[in-house]
């Protein structure tokens, strides 16, 4: 057996080596081609073109809705609107998606109203401000529920330390000086809370990513979501959610009035 198999073995190995070589070459070429198509510059150019189109669209929106107050090239207009250089797309997203911008009129502070720009227009405007205003805080790539952290208890601790002084400890909002106020946080989306912390809209201080890490911000959002929109309402009318003052007042007035009424009724029936 050993002698008979020895001779053809040499020929076979030769053939095998050739086939293997061809296969390796073919495989190498094929994978190189695949790699090329995967990382080919075609995708890049397409994206850049899309980006350009988005920026051009954003420019149109900017010129139509923003430039009267923020200037032709984001430089701002004295006593009308601040410069938008370096504000970042987080600020653009927050201000436009919450309807604060475009502003209806100059007053103590811009107020929340239905958004005037569509989400697509906001996207385009964000791209335009980002491309022309230089680097600034960027809106996170995650959105919606993904921005809710898994530790609302820690979020509550951080909220009470950093946010509650103005927004009230369950996000009911509160008064500031000269007609300004910290708004209530009901109905505010996760993206808006995150971009507000990042960009510090109007008189709110900025909370950068090094001061409050993204995880900490998400925990804060989880906390806000767990106490706003009626989620912190243990039965009945929340009476503004301001705690014992309004509750005590209403309980006293309504309760005493009811007692007097019942007493009078009993007296009248007797």
């Amino acid at each position: 057996m050993t002698t008979t198999t020895k001779r053809p073995r040499g020929a076979r190995t030769k053939l095998r080596r050739r086939v293997a070589g061809l296969l390796a070459l073919g495989f190498g070429l094929l994978s190189a081609g695949l790699l090329f198509t995967a990382f080919a510059p075609t995708a890049q150019t397409a994206q850049a073109q899309q980006q350009d189109a988005l920026v051009r669209q954003g420019e149109q929106i900017y010129l139509n809705t923003c430039q009267s107050c923020h200037g032709r090239s984001l430089e701002g207009v004295e006593s009308r609107g601040p410069s938008l250089v370096g504000v970042g797309d987080a600020a653009v997203y927050f201000q436009t998606s919450s309807g604060r911008m475009p502003m209806a009129r100059q007053e103590a502070q811009a107020i929340r109203k239905p958004a005037k720009l569509s989400p697509e227009e906001i996207n385009a405007l964000m791209a335009y401000i980002d491309a022309n205003g230089g680097a600034g805080p960027k809106k996170p790539s995650e959105s919606g529920e993904a921005l809710r952290g898994d530790n609302p208890a820690r979020g509550g601790e951080l909220f009470r330390l950093n946010c509650a002084s103005c927004h009230n400890f369950t996000g009911r909002g509160g008064a500031l000086s000269s007609g300004k106020f910290a708004p209530a946080l009901d109905g505010v989306t996760e993206d808006q809370i995150y971009t507000a912390m990042l960009s510090g809209p109007q008189n709110m201080p900025k909370f950068g990513e090094r001061q409050l890490t993204p995880e900490e911000k998400k925990d804060i959002i989880a906390y806000v979501k767990s106490v706003t929109d009626g989620n912190n309402n243990s039965g009945g009318n929340a009476l503004g959610g301001f705690g014992p003052v309004s509750e005590g007042l209403i309980a006293f007035i309504v309760g005493i009035a009811a007692l007097i009424g019942v007493t009078l009724w009993i007296g009248a029936k007797a």
């Binding site: 530790n151 609302p152 820690r154 979020g155 601790e157 951080l158 330390l161 950093n162 002084s165 103005c166 509160g174 500031l176 000086s177 000269s178 300004k180 910290a182 510090g200 109007q202 008189n203 709110m204 201080p205 900025k206 909370f207 950068g208 090094r210 001061q211 900490e216 925990d219 979501k225 767990s226 929109d229 989620n231 309402n233 243990s234 039965g235 009945g236 009993i266 029936k269 007797a270």
Partner: protein, 375 residues
């Protein structure tokens, strides 16, 4: 009882003969009470209407008993623990807990009340009674004899003549009174400010360096045992952060780490001004800031509330308690409200590793005024 209408009292034999009705009549007559009108609600017993009235009253007592039981059941067995809104059913059950115990407890009390009221309306006889009023003070004889009895008792006790007893009794009561008075007054006699040099005195805060140890600025991350030190680049322009003192010797001391975050005089607001913001510094404190970073005590100089409502564009710090406003563009000087002194500024710098540190304690006492404070 009343002297106006003397009633003839029955003899002992007559009293033993009297029925309950007679006794009641005698009692009311003695009290000067006269029945003017008396009428039974149900002169004929056992009618259908009477039974219906009985049922009406009983139903309210039953309602009361059932809601009392329901209250007990809800109070003991309802899933009252907080459920996150993401679990809709659990959240609803949790939210129902308070209204339910309130409803059932209220209904139980109300049922008892309505039942009792209905019973008096439906079953107690209609009755109108008149009682003569007792006019004026006691008679002159009553008053004179009472005074004489009291002074006689005092004289018979002989205490007026026995001065030894009188003095020793006075001594005993006086010493006891002194002992009782010393307890609350002692705290006022002690000098609470004799300690003026350690960080626990009113004059100093947790930022005071002791034994030459460096005091870092530490942030609160929501975890009381975590040490997160602050670098100048952490705070954005127009941002602010509340910081607390930290020493390396506290690093593994859990108690000290928690205590540092809870000390009333420790919170400091680290504020980063926006570039090119014009700042007026306080005379003698020109080098207390580090670049755009300014550190002010968070404790209001009026009554010690946290003044952390920061308006980054106007540079105002508002105090929520009495609406004081401090201007951080002008050394946190009070702009409005009852506060009269600026917020104390903490001198800060950066150490060789790039962490923010306190150069020293505040140079004045933080928070509201106290007796010994002269400015």
């Amino acid at each position: 009882m009343s002297g106006d209408k003397p009633t003839e009292l029955p003899s002992e034999a007559e009293l033993a003969e009297m029925s309950r009705d007679d006794l009641v009549k005698l009692g009311t007559r003695m009290d000067g009470v006269e029945l003017v009108h008396y009428e039974e609600k149900w002169p004929v017993k056992g009618t259908r209407a009477e039974r219906r009235a009985q049922r009406q009253v009983a139903i309210w007592f039953l309602i009361s008993a059932l809601s009392g039981l329901a209250f007990l059941g809800v109070f003991l067995f309802w899933p009252w623990e907080y459920e996150s809104p993401s679990n809709a059913e659990g959240h609803l059950l949790h939210n129902l807990y308070n209204p339910l115990i309130g409803l059932f407890l209220g209904l139980s009390v109300l049922g008892l009340g309505v039942g009792a009221l209905l019973y008096t309306k439906k079953f107690l006889p209609d009755e109108l009674a008149v009682q003569q009023r007792h006019d004026g003070p006691s008679t002159a004889v009553d008053r004179a004899t009472l005074v004489a009895e009291l002074s006689d008792a005092g004289q018979r006790s002989g205490i007026g003549r026995r001065s030894l007893i009188k003095r020793t009794a006075g001594l005993g009561a006086g010493v006891l009174g002194l002992g009782v008075a010393v307890v609350p007054l002692g705290a006022l006699v002690k000098n609470p400010h004799s300690d003026s040099e350690t960080k626990n005195s009113l004059w100093h805060t947790g930022w005071k360096a002791e034994k030459g140890e460096k005091v870092y600025l530490r942030r609160h991350t929501g975890n009381f045992h975590e040490v997160s030190l602050v670098r100048p680049e952490d705070v954005e322009p127009g941002g602010f952060e509340t910081v607390f003192p930290f020493r390396e010797s506290e690093r593994n001391d859990e108690h000290a780490l928690v205590a540092a975050l809870k000390r009333a005089d420790a919170p400091v607001m680290l504020i980063r001004m926006r570039p090119n913001q014009a700042i007026t510094k306080r005379a003698g404190q020109e080098d207390f800031n580090y670049g755009d970073l300014y550190a002010y005590s968070k404790i209001c100089t009026h009554l010690g509330c946290p003044t952390s409502l920061f308006e980054q564009q106007t540079g105002l710090l508002l105090c929520p308690c009495h609406q004081s406003q401090f201007d951080v563009f002008e050394y946190a000087k009070p702009r409005f409200g009852p506060a009269t002194r600026p917020l104390p500024q903490l001198p800060i710098t950066v150490d060789e590793e790039g962490y923010l540190v306190a150069r020293s304690d505040f140079i004045e006492a933080v928070g509201p005024a106290f007796w010994e404070r002269k400015s």
